[in-house]
Symmetry: C2
Subunit: 188 residues, 2 copies
């Protein structure tokens, strides 16, 4: 009879269990993978609850933080004119249709403004409103505070080790995922 003060995540437990039935498939790798998802999930939940309490979904938060700094894909600094919906969609990793919907509700709530691009009339420019900047400057410190709580049990050395290992995983996964994402401009 296990002590269930800390409830587990059965959907991961099931798979960690199932992976052991495939010894030819590198069980230690599967175990590490599922632990990554489980910890990421639980950590994300902690951050998300804070955002949800402020009526900010994952997608909305991505849009706001991307607009905070410009952050165009090519690294060029263009803070003034804002970003286009297409740039936001690429950087937030959602489809353009999703981004249209996110901008709709953010505009309705007074967090962003749409402006027609002066040079290319197909494009829109999305900008933060002062209300959004105010909102973010209130929210971000407590948001980072919550991140720090989750990581408080790790020493500086452990954090460095963790970041190093996570980076290795990230780069490998990004490499595996790259062909899928590179569907932007085929060569025909």
């Amino acid at each position: 009879m296990p002590h269930l003060l800390i409830k587990d995540l059965p959907r991961y437990e099931c798979l960690i269990e199932a992976a052991k039935h495939y010894p030819e498939l590198d069980p230690s790798a599967c175990e590490a993978f599922l632990h990554l998802l489980r910890a990421g999930d639980e950590a994300f939940l902690h951050a998300e609850q804070h955002l949800t309490a402020h009526n900010i979904s994952h997608g909305r938060f991505s849009v706001l933080t991307l607009l905070m700094k410009g952050c165009p894909t090519d690294g060029s600094k263009a803070p003034g004119p804002g970003l286009t919906p297409a740039e936001l969609a690429d950087n937030a990793r959602v489809t353009r249709a999703t981004m249209t919907g996110l901008i709709d509700t953010l505009e309705r709530d007074g967090f962003v403004r749409r402006e027609a691009d002066t040079h290319d009339r197909r494009m829109m420019r999305v900008c933060l409103t002062p209300k959004a900047r105010e909102f973010l400057s209130q929210l971000l410190p407590s948001h980072f505070q919550r991140m720090a709580e989750v990581m408080s049990g790790l020493s500086e050395a452990e954090r460095r080790t963790l970041v190093e290992l996570l980076n290795k995983i990230y780069l490998r996964a990004a490499e595996l995922n790259t062909p899928v994402r590179a569907v932007a401009s085929p060569n025909t």
Copy 2:
């Protein structure tokens, strides 16, 4: 001009950058937290693409794998009669309304069956169909194979270290999240 063969995740880059402007808020913790989310995100994407290609969403996959083994919250083994929608919702961490919808489409697609509970007529029992068991036995090996690919760059020792660190984070986050999840039965 950076070499963009591996596209970055600007929504995390922005925050990692922003966290450095709050030196009083434990920047190394925030950095580690965001690296966890970024790696988890990218790893999850790799697994998800495989599931999506087989018409299986995150929620659907959770339901199928939970039903594979029973997996009731209290650890009791009850493989025969299946699980109730409430148990599935708790274990998959979605609301009961969401679970109703997931079971609807899974039933429509022939993966699960609903049966009325013989003892308590408020409850339903959800079971896997043979079609679903066949489907899972085809899918799981390649699913685990993809997990292994992502982790292939880590040695056994690194995997052990990683799991240990992730466990520390998971337990801390679960502890922080527990009060939020324990809203099941208030005492009035």
